[in-house]
């Protein structure tokens, strides 16, 4: 019985060691399977900036949609043809529009997109400053207590202390 338990323990340790060893081995294999690592690195770099059109909230790098696969293959081809990042993005924009770019170009059409939030922030801050200033100038007048009021306040505070 005791031997058996020890045997099981050993096996568990062995299995764990094998498992922890096999993971890095597998990772290495996967890396080898990928084609030219230079191309792959550039592909990932570029496609992280591109939107997958099928599942719109995923980047081209992470999407498993078939179109994303095709487009990655297309980008690979362009990388091998020595195209620059800008040229590759241009290639996709002429076909799918600015929508494929996660970071659309700054141009009159996208001004609202780029500067709109800052404009809103500016408006909000201006509004808040104006409101606060107004309140400040109104404030003291309202808070002016007469001597009578002060006396009453003192009285109330005192009676509070006593109880």
């Amino acid at each position: 019985m005791k031997l058996n338990a020890q045997c099981l323990k050993m096996m568990a340790v062995l299995a764990f060691t094998m498992m922890s060893l096999s993971t890095p081995l597998q990772a290495k294999e996967a890396a080898l399977l990928a084609e030219d690592p230079v191309v792959e690195t550039r592909l990932i770099h570029i496609s992280e900036e591109l939107r997958c059109l099928v599942c719109q909230n995923e980047s081209l790098a992470s999407s498993r949609a078939e179109l994303a696969n095709d487009l990655r293959e297309e980008v690979r081809k362009l990388i091998r043809a020595d195209k620059s990042d800008a040229q590759i993005k241009e290639y996709l924009v002429t076909r799918y529009g600015d929508f494929v770019l996660y970071r659309p170009e700054v141009k009159p059409l996208t001004w609202v997109l780029w500067f709109g939030p800052f404009l809103l922030l500016l408006l909000g801050v201006t509004g808040m400053v104006m409101y606060l200033r107004q309140r400040q100038s109104d404030g003291p007048a309202k808070q002016n207590l007469s001597d009578e009021d002060r006396r009453k306040v003192q009285e109330i505070l005192k009676s509070g202390d006593a109880s």
């Binding site: 059109l53 099928v54 719109q56 078939e66 179109l67 095709d70 487009l71 002429t94 076909r95 529009g97």
Partner: protein
């Protein structure tokens, strides 16, 4: 001015924005191809005996390019509309069979040769058109989806209207409905035919 009206007005402004935003179809992305020449291609057609086909063959005609596939579910909804429309002979409809043979169709552990793919795509498409009706003057086969990329296809079905000079005038992503044909496509075709 009553002060409580300010947040109320802001609230309704927000509701207005949301109402507009929610009623928009996020899948409908304005195509940069409208107003640009239709990208050139040269592809096999369903008819094995016919020569290769390209947009140049349609020069001087207003025509429609409809992207479809037998595996496309939405196409089944669209197809009867196109069949009925083609009977009115308003304009030639060219089918673009998009990636008919999918990777999962291949036998395990082996890839189809291009010839096998072409043969299978022809067989399947012909059978499907026989069963559901054939609205197409002809249908070309974009087996690897390369032409689809040039046309910015990201969801089947998609439909393009191309003018006499070979310029794309209209693009529809998704199902063409009788309503859309009547309200948008037909008036456009008539205008293009007249010019």
């Amino acid at each position: 001015v009553k002060k409580f009206l300010i947040p109320l007005a802001l609230f309704f402004g927000l509701v207005g924005f949301l109402a507009v935003g929610l009623n928009r179809d996020p899948r409908e992305i304005p195509s940069p191809l409208v107003g640009k020449p239709a990208p050139a291609f040269s592809l096999h057609t369903l008819d094995a005996a016919a020569p290769m086909f390209g947009p140049d063959n349609m020069k001087g005609k207003v025509w429609m390019l409809n992207v479809w596939a037998t595996w496309c579910v939405a196409c089944r909804e669209e197809h009867p509309v196109l069949v009925a429309f083609s009977k009115a002979n308003q304009l030639p409809i060219v089918g673009l069979s998009y990636k008919e043979v999918q990777p999962q169709d291949q036998p395990a552990g082996r890839q189809f040769t291009p010839e096998e793919k072409l043969k299978l795509a022809r067989e399947r498409s012909a059978l499907w058109l026989k069963r559901h009706g054939d609205p197409y003057a002809l249908s070309v086969l974009d087996l690897d989806g390369r032409v689809g990329i040039d046309y910015g296809v990201y969801g089947v079905p998609e439909t393009y209207v191309i003018d006499k000079e070979g310029v794309i005038r209209y693009k529809r992503v998704g199902v063409v409905t009788p309503d859309l044909l009547q309200s948008t496509i037909l008036p456009l075709v008539q205008k293009l035919n007249a010019s």
